[in-house]
């Protein structure tokens, strides 16, 4: 059994299922609209550096959108039990760890896509308002260094918590 193929297969299909979830896009778009009203790094005085606006925007994204990402990822594992797919999956030759790791990575990457879209729109507006592309590398680096690790950690934590609590409940009930 080629576990590598199973891993990439799980990653691909979990990505597909998560990216298709309307709730993921609606959540991030709604949060993006919220921030345009109540947290506005782009309406700072034009004399302040654009880089400061970028960093502030990255901070908002990392704080709020990352939490939203965690909430949207928390149900990925319990969903298998809810949809009753888990019994079938447990009879397949691919290992649980392979499937779960593929699920985690695929779902997390899919959740990062709308998050990055919202971040990009905010960054694009900042660059447009300040009429400069100079902070663009800073924006990309900030997202990679600040927002991305946060989502990766929160995603793993969300899925692990539900996996542990689910397994404990399953063991207690069925033995």
């Amino acid at each position: 059994m080629n576990q590598r193929a199973a891993f990439f297969g799980a990653l691909a299909f979990e990505f597909r299922m998560q990216i298709r979830r309307r709730a993921v896009w609606i959540t991030f778009i709604a949060l993006g609209l919220f921030f345009t009203q109540f947290h506005q790094p782009w309406f700072r005085p034009i004399t302040t550096p654009a880089s400061a606006a970028i960093i502030y925007w990255t901070g908002i994204v990392q704080s709020f959108l990352a939490v939203a990402a965690g909430l949207l990822l928390a149900d990925r594992l319990p969903r298998d039990r809810r949809t009753k797919v888990d019994e079938l999956l447990n009879t397949l030759p691919s290992t649980v760890s392979t499937r779960v790791f593929g699920k985690y990575l695929g779902s997390t990457i899919a959740t990062l896509v709308p998050m990055f879209v919202i971040y990009s729109l905010g960054t694009a507006f900042i660059l447009f308002r300040w009429h400069t592309f100079q902070p663009l590398p800073l924006a990309l680096a900030s997202f990679t260094a600040i927002a991305l690790p946060g989502v990766i950690f929160i995603g793993a934590f969300s899925i692990a918590c539900t996996a542990v609590s689910d397994s404990l409940c399953w063991l207690l009930v069925l033995g």
Binding site: M1, F13, R16, R21
Partner: protein, 297 residues
């Protein structure tokens, strides 16, 4: 693929004893597992599929000892399983779902896997709706997807647990015919509480009740057990009394016809009838207080 089970026990946490020393030998072909709800059929299916571990006992599937983790993984490569509560990912299409399961079953070659998916969609008559999301499928259509996924790896052992539960008569017949066509060189274990499913598809069966295997043998031998035990009694409406179980009641206007199973011997108005599998099952359930009854397979 042969299956041999010796004194298999299963006790769940909390003290629920689901299997009591189950011993079974299955040589191959279509094999039925019949019993009422709570008999232990699904527990036995799950142990065979490697989902549950037995508390005690031995299990051999083909050349593999099912008690070791390594061999359980080997069994999974030759296994096709359709669970009683078959679930799907609702947002995937039928084609995508089969493709995903195919990858997880080890079908790495993309071209071959896609070809296999198309073949199976054709077999279960779902090619026209293959791109529709599974959440739009009816119960019968989901069951067909279930059997399709079970066949992806061309398994030597196919376990189907209550496959026709909840299906309408036409779907049930279609499913039974599909199962019958799959016989070939594989072992198909059909677990059900619907007697007709077994009658139409299996020559060999086992009957379970309360965690025990109370009968193992051929359908023909089981029918012989009930010879002379099935009667038709016609009354003018009043229910007949006696040591028997009424299997069916037919209202014919001023008269009521009862089909009963029991020891009636000579009785006015009671006409002996040829037993069917349902009659034999009812007769066996009445007699289950006796030790395991087995005939030569």
């Amino acid at each position: 693929m042969k299956i041999a089970i010796y004194h298999l026990d299963k006790t769940y946490r909390g003290g629920v004893h689901a299997l009591y020393g189950a011993t079974l030998n299955i040589e191959g072909g279509m094999f039925g597992l019949l019993g009422p709800n709570g008999a232990g059929k699904t527990t036995l299916m799950r142990i065979l599929a490697g989902i549950l571990h037995p508390t005690n006992g031995m299990l051999h599937i083909g050349d593999y000892d099912g008690n070791s983790e390594h061999n359980r993984n080997a069994i999974k490569r030759v296994l096709g399983y359709l669970p009683q509560d078959f679930g799907v990912y609702p947002d995937l299409s039928a084609r995508e779902f089969l493709d995903y399961i195919g990858i997880l079953k080890g079908l790495d070659d993309r071209t071959g896997r896609h070809r296999r998916v198309e073949e199976l969609l054709e077999i279960v008559s779902l090619t026209q709706v293959a791109n529709r999301k599974l959440k739009t499928f009816s119960g019968g259509m989901k069951r067909r997807i279930g059997i399709a996924q079970a066949l992806l790896n061309d398994p030597q052992l196919l376990i189907v647990d209550e496959p026709t539960a909840g299906l309408d008569p036409e779907e049930r017949i279609r499913f039974r015919n599909l199962l019958s066509d799959l016989g070939g060189g594989r072992t198909i274990l059909l677990s059900t509480h619907i007697v007709e499913d077994i009658a139409q598809t299996c020559q060999n069966l086992a009957i379970m009740n309360g965690g025990h295997i109370i009968y193992q043998g051929t359908v023909a031998d089981l029918l012989r057990e009930a010879l002379g035990k099935v009667w038709i009694i016609t009354t003018q409406g009043n229910k007949p009394e006696g040591n028997f179980t009424a299997v069916s009641t037919l209202n014919m206007g001023s008269l009521v016809q009862y089909r009963v199973v029991g020891e009636l011997s000579a009785r006015a108005g009671a006409i002996p009838a040829e037993p069917n599998l349902e009659d034999s099952y009812v007769w066996l359930m009445r007699e289950q207080r006796l030790p395991l009854r087995a005939s030569t397979l």
